[in-house]
Amino acid sequence: MLDDPLRQFLRGPVMQVLCVAGAGGKPYIGRGMGMIVADERDRIDIVISRWQWPGACALLANGVPLALTVCEVRTYEAYQLKGCIALLRTAGSDELELARRYIDETGRMLTSIGVLPEGSGAWTMQPDALVVALDVHEVFVQTPGDLAGRARQVQP
């Protein structure tokens, strides 16, 4: 599912949005704050704040279906990755540092292109983050255009 161009894309300053469904079918949203993309496996570790997204975080558990949409806001290139949660753990210091860097870099990028207003300050990181490991089973194109909604072709 994950080839080198997609891995490279995922390691860039992309917006990350997770979604899980509750028992009654109600969907819950949360924003990711940094990802670790495995080199050899179809697995992504995503950092998410429990304080900010309690609804989504309460549903995260091993084996739960999860959708992750990633978007590069400068180019509108976007993909949706679907699969199941393989592992859930509390974020360690390395992952919190990753999240801080992500927030800093993405915040600067969003400000530079006018999405965030000047003077909006830095996002602060809460030390209650979780790390969700997603085993990716499917990847769909979400970039606006003819291919939107179709399965992404893995590049050899």
Partner: protein, 442 residues
């Protein structure tokens, strides 16, 4: 405290894209970006559906959805628990959002790609503020257009009788009463929108044209919908910042449309009379989120009044008085002025400098010819309208507006030929030169 939907107006400006999450019957979730979310009423929102195939399929199985909105001013986020109610593929709401999307996508170089297929309407059940640690310390105060201020502008426009005064009263009123310092009035002339008035720009741009269907202004004209963009992409702003020099004007025979190089907010309002678009009132600002729904409503009222007043002024002039004989005088002195008139597009050049083209150019050449051959210095609109040699396309052909545009273009460029308003429907020609006319065929 749970905010009301109406309090989230800054979330509906499309500055930070919203997201919609749905789930299939088997529990597999789906989350997609939205290009536009709008408030339908106090309990419903509309989501634009362009590429949301999976979202639509999920909603058919499970009408529950969650929408994530972001306030473009404060960055505050809100989670809306919503339930799918219906979809719309036509009607007022659809038309408004389709035009908005067309304009927004054209601005980011994706014209025609992000075409609206339908709007999904949802009932909002819950609104939950997301805990957020971004604080915006220098948030600009939101300006609100008061009804009294709008009334003063409308009243001032209504007091004017000629097109020039109506245009001036409109632009002056926007600046003084509504704090809108950069605005244009464009009128529809022969398949193009032509600038007849501007305020707040170093170069007035009188006579500059916007092709039908092009850009924010053209889309407002084509769709007869208000187009409001509160965050312009850098690419668009850079493209707007490329300025045309006077040399370009002479080569291209076109006048540069005035524009703020650092505009962040723009709004284009169609000027409607009897349901027909007569022109566009355009305003812009270097501030983010400069125009909200109240400003839009105020501009719609002002644009409607100005459109009706211009239409009435044109209509009344065509019906007034009898044909007045043109006053004559000896042509004035001064240095020679080489006037070149190109029949192919009715363009006129003074000493190699582009003046104007089209019907306004034909009118100017006609008046110069009259001035040179028989010494005519005074012209009545009615006489011009009835002169078949001018080949005016129809009886009511925005003559007064075209003459206003011509008069102001001559003033703006400080050409040695001027047209002076002598009274309602009467113009005088002043020349600080001796025109030497040359007609270039082909």
């Amino acid at each position: 405290m749970t905010p009301a939907l109406r309090e989230l107006s800054a979330c509906f400006e499309g500055i930070v894209p919203a997201l919609v999450a749905t789930a299939a019957a088997d529990g597999m979730p789906n989350v997609s970006y939205l290009s536009q979310v709008t408030m339908v009423d106090d309990d419903h929102i509309g989501l634009t559906n362009q590429f949301l195939t999976k979202t639509s399929a999920n909603l058919a199985e499970n009408p529950q959805a969650t929408v994530l909105l972001v306030d473009g001013c404060t960055c505050a986020q809100y989670l809306l628990g919503v339930r799918y109610v219906r979809h719309e593929e036509s009607g007022a709401l659809f038309g408004r959002m389709a035009a908005q999307i067309e304009a927004g996508s054209a601005l980011v170089g994706m014209a025609g790609i992000m075409r609206l297929r339908r709007i999904d309407v949802f009932k909002v059940d819950t609104i939950e503020a997301v805990p957020f640690t971004v604080s915006l310390t220098d948030a600009p105060p939101r300006k609100r257009a008061s009804l009294e201020a709008v009334a003063r502008v409308v009243q001032a426009i209504g007091a004017q009788a000629d097109v020039g005064s109506i245009v001036d009263a409109t632009l002056r009123g926007l600046a003084a009463e509504l704090d809108i310092g950069h605005a244009l009035i464009l009128q529809l002339m022969h398949e193009r929108l032509v600038t007849v008035g501007s305020h707040g720009y170093p170069a007035g741009g009188i006579g500059s044209e916007v092709p039908i269907e092009e850009g924010l202004i053209g889309i407002a004209d084509k769709s007869a919908q208000v187009i409001r963009i509160n965050e312009l992409s850098r690419a668009f702003r850079f493209s707007q910042a490329v300025s045309a020099s006077a040399a370009d004007e002479n080569r291209s025979r076109s006048i540069r449309l005035p524009g703020l190089p650092d505009a962040l907010s723009q709004v284009a309002v169609p000027m409607l009379v009897h349901g027909q678009v007569q022109g566009v009132l355009f305003a812009e600002s270097a501030r983010r989120m400069a125009f909200d729904r109240d400003d839009e409503a105020a501009l719609v009222l002002v644009a409607g009044q100005a459109a009706a007043a211009i239409w009435l002024a044109e209509s009344l002039v065509s019906d007034d008085g009898a044909v007045t004989p043109a006053a004559s005088a000896q042509a004035g002195g001064g240095p020679g002025l080489k006037v070149q008139y190109y029949r192919v597009d009715d363009s006129i050049f003074f000493d190699g400098n582009y003046v104007i083209k089209g019907i306004a150019g034909r009118l100017l050449y006609y008046m110069l010819e009259q001035y040179v051959t028989v010494g005519t210095v005074e012209f009545s609109n009615r006489a011009l309208r009835l002169d078949t040699s001018l080949r005016l396309p129809e009886l009511k052909t925005n003559l007064e507006t075209r003459l206003l545009l011509l008069r102001r273009r001559l003033d703006e460029k400080d050409f040695p030929v001027r047209l002076i308003q002598l009274g309602r429907g009467r113009l005088g020609m002043e020349c600080r030169c001796i025109p030497e006319l040359t007609v270039i065929e082909g």
